[in-house]
């Protein structure tokens, strides 16, 4: 079945084209060339470049958005590895929106398989289906897919560029290409003659691209080793441009207020006080809210606050408890999915120990450090948009719709993002910025959400509930039956972003529960979709973020009921099922010196979640310090196969874990009178530097398929902490946030 993978690889070729003073290398689609984002002139090839070389030097295009996960660095390293350039000598930029920057790995992840046990055949199918991403223009940074996606394509782009430059040098020097070598952006002849890539660029553009095999991993200079991040210098000197830092000549600044009862209408407003403020230029009716354009963001915000607005009701139950009653009721509805249904869960063996548990996870906000914002300039026949975003093709299409322009007339500039976590997959900020800019044609307008507007108008991690039952015989789990209910983030987003109706089983709603690597003979996981109109979306690790908690807390409860050590109990069920997962568990046991026993005043918990192709095991240690519980230490082991940059992976693992621990400890979005009650960090706190644990990470590389890094660190953190709190106090944490039940250090 290797041919399936081959078909995929042959669905694109690396091509080249002339640019002013140089050459560009990139992907060229045999079947149906994607439109060229560079708008080449007549007679020029349509090409989606990943490498530019001109008199200024080498520029690499990283079409995945940098939101802190280090994608620019590793993406550039993939190209540089084959191209023989030094990362310090190249420029890395975001690409424009273009079909050929589609994310081929994301659709493969949407297949309804468990992931960890797929055969090469299924893996190949997944890769092939990835091409479909191009059809729907899925240029998306999400789902922890960037490295899976770029691994082959980027190295091929680098290799073809290198060999073509060598051919140009060979032609010039009258030598054979095979006699030349490349190093640090230069072609070097046997006599020591050096020709820089920049000097060869125009000649390279005139010849056919030269294909080349990829280098063996043993020859890698950059990949597999920590690289200095290419975005560091700008970020430590304050010169990096985030969305809110965009400054354009003649620019105006806007702030907005939208109905806090999400999706509710606005029945009227009185803006007389705002209009009277010096420096206020326009008040824009957005339909469900109002924006003010003024001299600066601060002033615009003051004016927006001074508008008296009458809001209509929310299209969902206005109080948290009523919302959760609806979610609980959905548990008894017909299931949307039963993606795992092994053996028979309806008749456990006689004499089995039975346990049941019910769990609850709250709605959560993303709370990116940089609040939502976008800058737009509308000129009547064209629109330019500047914003940090995780999906520029979707932004382009939506903004074009709003402005009544063809897609080609809309340019999206993707800036750096002050955090994404899934929030910047949504289209609301660029959409509203477009509406606001249309009120002042020709003038660039930057629209910024206040922290409160941001927190109260999120696309939340859905609140979720679960009922688990299990059976144990002779200290082993023989049955696990789970029902999980939540709003479907996927169904909502399909409708919101792509206008597609919901259909089929929602894998994301049960991910992190149905696909866990445990050999339990009777094992069923069913998902129930709760139909509510609260906006929900993709929050770092998505369904895994609640299912990891449910499933791994229940595994702990099963271990306790079995009278077994919770780590050994898991390992027994995992060893024959998925070796990389078992390897992660063994690694954290060794790193933490796990004995199953802790001294008085100390508790430890373990959890493992397989998500985005990567198993991650964590041990968390808590300590009672005079009545206050500190999260003292953490050990993480992960296995995403080939580890392209260990330092970035370590940062993602630690970061993903603390993001999850923050939510587990304090995160909770609640509703009163239809509006979100939390507005800012005082109400929606995070772990701080003094309350975050010291952490040790081990990266294993046994996984046969490449997994993600940005999200898999999040899901196991919450159950590992809850299990540690149980170990410390004897109280089981079945509902988050834990600060409601335990006296945690703040």
């Amino acid at each position: 079945m290797a041919s399936i993978g081959k078909i995929l690889r042959r669905s694109f070729l690396i091509g080249s084209t002339a640019i002013v003073g140089g050459v560009a290398f990139g992907a060229w689609y045999v079947s149906r060339p994607a439109a060229n984002p560079l708008r080449p002139g007549a007679g020029e090839a349509a090409l989606n470049p990943f490498v530019f070389i001109d008199a200024q030097g080498v520029t690499l295009i990283a079409p995945r958005a940098e939101m802190g996960q280090g994608v620019h660095t590793t993406w550039a390293a993939l190209i540089a590895e084959e191209l023989d350039v030094d990362l310090a000598d190249v420029r890395v930029i975001h690409g424009p929106p273009a079909q050929a920057y589609y994310n081929s790995a994301m659709i493969a992840d949407a297949l309804p398989n468990k992931g960890y046990d797929i055969s090469d055949f299924q893996h190949g199918i997944g890769e092939m289906l990835g091409v479909l991403g191009k059809v729907v223009g899925l240029q998306v940074t999400g789902g922890s897919t960037s490295m899976k996606d770029g691994f082959v394509r980027m190295r091929e782009a680098g290799a073809v560029a290198r060999e073509t430059l060598k051919q140009a040098a060979a032609d010039r020097l009258g030598l054979a290409r095979g006699d030349l070598r490349t190093q640090s952006g230069k072609v070097i002849a046997p006599d020591g003659t050096e020709l820089s890539y920049a000097a060869l660029a125009e000649a390279a553009a005139a010849i056919d691209p030269v294909d080349a095999p990829l280098r063996d991993a043993r020859e890698w200079r950059l990949l597999g080793k920590p690289q200095p991040r290419v975005d560091m210098t700008a970020k430590v000197t304050g010169t990096a441009t985030f969305g809110v830092d965009v400054r354009l000549p003649g620019m105006k600044f806007a702030a907005l207020r939208i109905n806090p009862r999400l999706g509710g209408a606005m029945s009227g407003y009185d803006d007389s006080a705002a209009r009277a403020m010096p420096g206020v230029e326009r008040i824009v009716d957005l339909g469900d809210g109002v924006a003010v354009i003024g001299r600066n963001t601060w002033l615009a915000q003051q004016a927006a606050d001074a508008i008296d607005i009458t809001w209509e009701k929310a299209p969902y139950p206005p109080e948290t408890e009523a919302i959760f009653e609806r979610i609980a009721a959905a548990l008894d509805d017909a299931p949307n999915s039963a993606l795992r249904d092994d053996g028979d869960v309806t008749s456990p063996p006689a004499g089995a120990t039975r346990i049941t548990a019910e769990y609850r996870a709250p709605y959560l906000a993303h709370a990116t450090m940089e609040p939502m914002n976008a800058t737009a300039r509308y000129t009547g026949d064209a629109l330019e948009v500047w914003c940090g975003n995780q999906g520029p093709t979707f932004q382009q299409a939506r903004c074009a719709d709003i402005a009544g322009l063809p897609k080609e007339a809309v340019t999206v500039h993707t800036t750096l993002m002050g955090g994404g976590f899934g929030r910047r997959l949504e289209l609301d900020y660029a959409s509203h910025a477009t509406r606001v800019a249309m009120a002042m044609p020709g003038v660039p307008v930057q629209l910024t959400w206040s922290r409160e507007e941001d927190m109260r108008h999120d696309f939340y991690r859905p609140g979720a509930m679960a009922r688990f039952s299990g059976a144990i015989v002779d200290g082993k789990a023989v049955m696990l039956d789970a029902r999980i209910a939540a709003q479907s983030a996927v169904f909502q987003a399909m409708d919101r972003v792509a206008g597609l109706p919901p259909a089929g089983p929602d894998k994301v709603l049960v991910e992190g529960a149905f696909n866990q690597p445990y050999a339990i003979p009777n094992y069923r996981v069913r998902g129930h979709v709760c139909d509510l109109k609260i906006p929900v979306g993709f929050w770092r690790s998505v369904g895994n973020s609640f299912n990891g908690f449910f499933h791994e807390t229940f595994m702990d409860e099963m271990a306790v009921a079995a009278g077994a050590d919770p780590l050994a109990f898991r390992l027994d069920l995992m060893r024959g099922e998925h070796a990389p997962s078992a390897g992660c568990l063994k690694a954290v046991a060794e790193m933490s010196g796990w004995t199953g026993k802790t001294p008085e005043g100390v508790g430890r918990g373990v959890a493992l979640t397989y998500s985005f192709g990567t198993p991650v095991a964590q041990v968390i240690e808590v300590a009672d310090e005079g009545g206050v519980i500190r999260i003292r230490r953490a050990w993480i082991a992960c296995d995403m196969g080939i580890a392209l940059d260990p330092a970035i992976i370590e940062a993602q693992m630690t970061g993903g874990m603390i993001y999850g621990l923050s939510a587990a400890c304090f995160g909770e979005i609640t509703f009163a009178d239809g509006a979100v009650e939390q507005g800012n960090f005082p109400d929606y706190d995070a772990l701080r530097m003094h309350s975050a644990p010291e952490t040790e990470v081990r990266i294993l590389q046994t996984n046969a398929h490449m997994g993600g890094a940005g999200e898999p660190g999040t899901p196991p953190s919450m159950p590992a902490l809850g299990n540690a709190l149980f170990d410390l106090t004897g109280q089981r944490a079945r509902s988050m946030p834990f600060a409601r039940q335990f006296n945690l250090l703040v």
Binding site: R229, V236, G238, A240, G420, M689
Partner: protein, 160 residues
Amino acid sequence: MTQVSMTVNGKSATGTVEGRTLLSSFLRDTLELTGTHVGCDTSQCGACVVHVNGVAVKSCTMLAAEADGAEVATIEGQANADGSLNVIQQAFQDHHGLQCGFCTPGMVMSAAALLKDNPKPTEAEVREYLEGNICRCTGYHNIVKAIMAASGQDVAIAAE
């Protein structure tokens, strides 16, 4: 509207502000020094930390008029005179002390204030001093390592 003048990163800066104008807004909007970020506008997150007369303050909770005549230092003025990274910035780079980087200006400014008062802090002191700086990504671990390294201390000990 009143006229204010102050020294920002060694250069004199003047502008017209309302009574209610915040220092953060004056820096970002009037002086276009956009390195100082506003993450929460409630002095919770620390992305807006700058130095006023040598001490760290949250510029979202200080009036611009209050800084009239003051010496203000922001992230843009932290590099060495020859343009190279200062020891803290270099340590952040060397130890991957940031992820998305939005909180970084505040982290670097808080770290600079700490090391000025306490050149060899313990790891616990670093963590306590920076409790008012949130990183949502969250890269606390490497930020602590970077600050320990910037103080000339063994990072391996810090990681224990």
